[in-house]
Structures are given as C-alpha cells and as structure tokens.
C-alpha cells in the first residue's frame, strides 16, 4: 500500500477539500493504483540529471517598473460572491 485512508484524510485537509467517507474510500484505492504505477519511474537512473524547469531556454523576463493601466475595482469585484464597498467580504478570521 502506497497510501492509506488516513493519508487521504491528511492530504484532503492540505488541499482544503472536504470529502465524504465514500469519496475517501474510493480515492484511497484509486490513488494507490496510480501511485503504484508511478513507481515505474524508479527504474530510471537519474543520477546527475538536471530536472526540467522550463522546456524552452529563455532567460528571466524583466520589465521596467512603470505604472500601467490596471483593472478598475468595479469589474474586478463584479464576480465576487460577497462584497462590501470596494472590498471582498470573507468570514471573520480573527476571533
């Protein structure tokens, strides 16, 4: 077993997903299958191989730090589930 029920619960917490017990059961089996398949990669000797960070060799992209037009607050807030004046509204964070 690569992954158990408890691990699935822990990872769901990290991912901020609330799963039903049924989903947890199903994911435990499926993720275990997939992770077992991924063990294939251990057959490959990667000693000294540089990991790919970008497929095309481009240098850092820089630009001048100049003020540019940005999205006004009205259209930016238009999709917000809850808002107040020019702010996104979220549940109270500090008790």
């Amino acid at each position: 077993m690569k992954i158990g029920f408890k691990d699935v619960e822990y990872v769901a917490g990290l991912a901020r997903l609330r799963l039903s017990d049924e989903e947890k059961e199903e994911f435990t089996t499926q993720l275990d299958d997939i992770l077992t398949y991924m063990d294939k990669l251990n057959e490959v000797d990667t000693t000294g191989v540089e990991p790919t960070s970008h497929v095309i060799s481009i240098k850092n992209v820089l630009r001048n730090d100049e003020v540019r037009e940005s999205l006004p607050s009205e259209p930016s807030l238009k999709n917000a589930p809850e808002k107040e004046r020019a702010f996104y509204k979220v549940p109270k964070i500090i008790a």
Binding site: L17, R18, M38, L41, V44, V55, K78, P81, P91
Partner: protein, 487 residues
C-alpha cells in the same frame, strides 16, 4: 452548397465575392446548431447576440473593403477555458458556473481584431482534465461519427463542433493531447503549437508548464490561417517566447521529397488497435512513396511519459486550482462555520470527481517528504524524455505516430478506471513534456467507420515542417473530406 461545410479559406472567398454575407453565414451556423446540437451537445454557452453584432461589423468592413483579413466574418467556436469579456466562462466546472471574465484572453482579442465571429463556448472536461469530455460539470458531448462514443477530450466540444459543421473552426487547449486526441477521434485537424508560441494569457490555468492553445480545423490551410492570427509574443505571458512568427501559409507546400521522417518504435504500443496501426503504416508508406525517407528511430524513455506527466500536471494543477476558494469569483458554499470551513465546503461542492482526484494526487506528490521521490524525479525523467527528442531531431525533420492508440471509445467505458483513462494519452503526452509542436490529421477509418488520426511531431518552433507533411498528405488523399451523417 452547404455553407456550414465550408472551410475558412473557402468561406472567405465567397464573402469576398459577396456570394453571401457574414450575417447569413452566421445564421446558417445557428440553424445547424439548432438542428444537431441537441444530439452532439458541443456547446455550453451560445453567443448569438454578440455573434450577430460581430457578423454585422464584418459585413460593414467587407463592404468598405477596409481592414479585411482571412478571418473577417468567419464563425468560430471557443473552448470554454478561454476568457471572453462579459461572456460566461465556466471551464465546464460548477465552481465557475457564474464567472463573467472582465477581460478577453489574448487569443480571443487577436481573433476579434481579425474580425472573427464567435458562435459560442464549447464543452470540455472540467478544467481540461480528461480525455473524453465525460468530466464536464454540465453534461457529456457526443462524437458526431457515433453518438454512443466519446468525442475525445479535453477539447471535445471544440472538435465535435468542427466535425458536426456547427462552426468553421475552433480553438482548443492541449496539456497532454487535449487538442490532438479529440481531433483524431472526430476526424478533423488539431494543432498544438510549440510551448511559448501562443500566449496563455486568459487561458484558465491547468498545468502551466504544459498548457498551450491551438486550432482545430477542417483542413491544414485553415490551421495556418488561425495560427497566423493567434501566434506571437505577449508581455502578459512571460512564458510566451519573443521569436519571429513565420507566415504559416508559406508552409503549405505539397511536397515531401527529401524530407527525413522518423518512426518511433516505442509508439506502436501493446494494446494498440490493429485498424489504427494499419492506417498509420499506410500513411507512412504513402509519404515514403512521395519521396520522404522513412526510418525507424528509438525514443527509449517513452514508457515513462505517462507517469511523469501525471505527477507534473497534477502537482501544477493542485497549485493552480488553489485560487478557487469562494472569495474573489465563482461559487461560494452556503452555511459554513468560519473561513477554513468555507474553503472546504466551497471546493467540495464546486469541483467534480476527476478534479478532486487530481488535486489530491498533486497535493500528495508535493507534500513534505514526497517531493523528491515524485516531483523532482518526474522533472528529471522529463529531461531525459526531452533529450530523446533532441537526439531524434538531429537526424529527422519530423516524427510520425498514431495520435491515439484506439479510435473513439464508448461513453462510460473508462470512467470507473482513471488509470486506463490516463493511458489513452500515451502517444500525445511526451510532446507536451518536451514542449514540442504536434499536429493530428485524419489518415483513415476503422472497419467500424471511425476516424483515425496521424500525429506529426516537430522540433521547437519548426512548425512549418510538420505543416508541410500534413498538407502534402491532405492534398493527396481524401479522408479529410468525409463527414459524419447526423440525420
């Protein structure tokens, strides 16, 4: 003449000759959509009002003869992963069911500037995660060649709309084959450009190091017309590459004499459908007959591509999809107890099973203690996969393979077994891992009458060579002319 069957270059000529107007052409597509989309279900959101306005503007430009391009007045479909200003953009996810982007994706803006008409937003697998369009949060799309089969995915709506003559051409996105595989399943042309050739600004992110936008069309010529319009550097996407964009039309050379084409052994995988294998070899033999030199080549790390891909893409997805938290846009759960509870409920209600599965997998492979074993290892194997291609392209102009190991499978056939579903991308995934351009063109049919795709893979930014091979094959064969019957 059935207008909806026309390619963009044919329709452009008729528009120029004033045989019909863009308004009439657009109307004929909505007639077609009304007639067949209840069966195919390619579209999620029609854009009728906006489309007629765009068509009218196109007609005015054509009448004045000012600022007319090859796309002026041409009706297209857009995968619903591309942001369209003030038009609902869902990514086929319930979590974005009420999202109206405040801006256009760069590709949408470019097509708009070229006078194109947008008929609507096309269905897809939720957040582009899938190979069958069965993972859409808003219902499945059916293959126009056989309504009991999947259209491929994730750009299944975009490919089915082209095949069913519900648009002239469309845009899709390709992270592990999501343009090429549905194009193969639906018997149309699908092109994934080199990573960095087309701006990803306004493409809802799935796996940023792999995602690329590209056209799905009825022929190779249309593919070059769309590529001419959408390619190029964009300061809003720092991974778009600042290199000169060729005139892709010039790649339409009907000749492969002297071209060196490699056939990767490893791509004729176990379990490959015999009809697919036969059709692909017949295509290879034809290209050889027409003067290309054909040789087998080995890409030894191919068998590790699927495992590598599903580590990298899920890791990137788990990070990209962290933004869906019910705060700035999209769905927010009702009845929660504090912020953390709101996140959990919102995400669990908003995401479908495959998206949850991939977020879980990606979170796991990035979590403390596993990063080196999975993510770092996968990025190292990715380097080896890339180097296999580099070596092959020292000798060859392009590589030829099947696009998908089987023709379109049955709806429901693989939904219960995610690993089997993942393995259906085995021939397209390596191309994304290496950032290469690849095209799928129709090359034949199975005994059951389903389309089969030939994949042509090229070097970084050497798209013209694969377009040339594709064009030559298309001009000298007729399987791209066959259309599904939907009555």
């Amino acid at each position: 003449m059935e207008w909806s069957r026309l390619t963009a270059h044919e329709a452009h000529e008729y528009l120029m000759k004033k045989s019909f107007s863009s308004l009439e052409l657009t109307q004929s597509f909505y007639d077609c959509i009304k007639a067949v989309d209840s069966k195919v279900a390619a579209y999620l959101t029609p854009m009728e009002e906006e489309a007629y306005q765009q068509a009218q503007q196109a007609d005015e430009k054509i009448a004045k003869g000012e600022g007319v391009t090859e796309l002026t007045g041409i009706p297209l479909a857009l995968k619903d992963i591309l942001c369209t200003k003030s038009i609902r953009t869902t990514c086929a996810s319930k979590i974005l069911s009420n999202f109206y982007p405040p801006y256009d994706a760069t590709v949408v803006k470019k097509l708009r500037e070229n006078g194109a008409v947008f008929l609507g937003k096309a269905n897809m697998d939720e957040f582009a995660m899938g190979s069958s369009t069965e993972n859409s949060g808003f219902g499945i799309t059916r293959n126009p060649w056989d309504l009991n089969r999947i259209p491929g995915g994730s750009s299944g709506g975009s490919a089915a709309a082209v095949a069913a003559d519900e648009c002239i051409a469309s845009l899709g996105s390709d992270t592990g084959g999501s343009i090429r595989q549905p194009a193969a399943c639906c018997g149309v042309v699908g092109f994934k450009p080199t990573y960095g050739r087309v701006s990803r600004f306004g493409l809802v992110a799935f796996a940023s190091s792999l995602d690329q936008i590209g056209p799905i069309t009825k022929d190779v010529t249309d593919c070059t017309i769309l590529m001419n319009s959408i390619s190029g550097h964009d300061t809003n996407d720092s991974t778009s590459v600042n290199v000169a964009v060729p005139d892709y039309r010039k790649a339409l050379v009907n000749d492969v004499k002297g071209m060196k084409l490699g056939i990767p052994n490893e791509y004729f995988v176990e379990g490959m459908d015999p009809d697919v294998e036969r059709a692909v070899w017949e295509a290879i033999k034809l290209l050889e007959k027409w003067g290309a030199s054909i040789k087998e080549v080995s890409l030894p790390h191919t068998e590790y591509a699927v495992a590598t891909y599903y580590i990298i893409c899920t890791a990137e997805a788990s990070s990209n999809l962290a933004r869906y938290d019910g705060v700035k846009y999209g769905h927010r759960a009702k009845g929660y107890d504090g912020l953390i509870d709101m996140y959990g409920k919102t995400r669990s209600e908003g995401f479908g099973p495959e998206v949850k599965r991939r977020i879980m997998l990606g979170t796991y492979v990035l979590s403390a203690g596993y990063y080196d074993a999975y993510y770092r290892k996968a990025q190292q194997v990715r380097t080896l996969i890339r180097e296999d291609f580099d070596r092959a392209f020292e000798e060859y102009d392009a590589l030829l393979t099947a696009t998908s190991p089987t023709p379109a499978f049955m709806i429901g056939e693989k939904v219960k077994d995610p690993l089997q579903m993942y393995l259906s991308d085995i021939l397209t995934i390596p191309v994304n891992l290496a950032g290469l351009p690849g095209i799928s063109i129709p090359c034949g049919f199975s005994r059951g009458g389903l389309p089969i795709g030939l994949q042509i893979i090229g070097k970084h930014f050497d798209e013209e060579k694969i377009l040339r091979v594709a064009y030559t094959f298309e001009q000298r064969t007729d399987c791209h002319l066959k259309r599904p019957r939907l009555d």
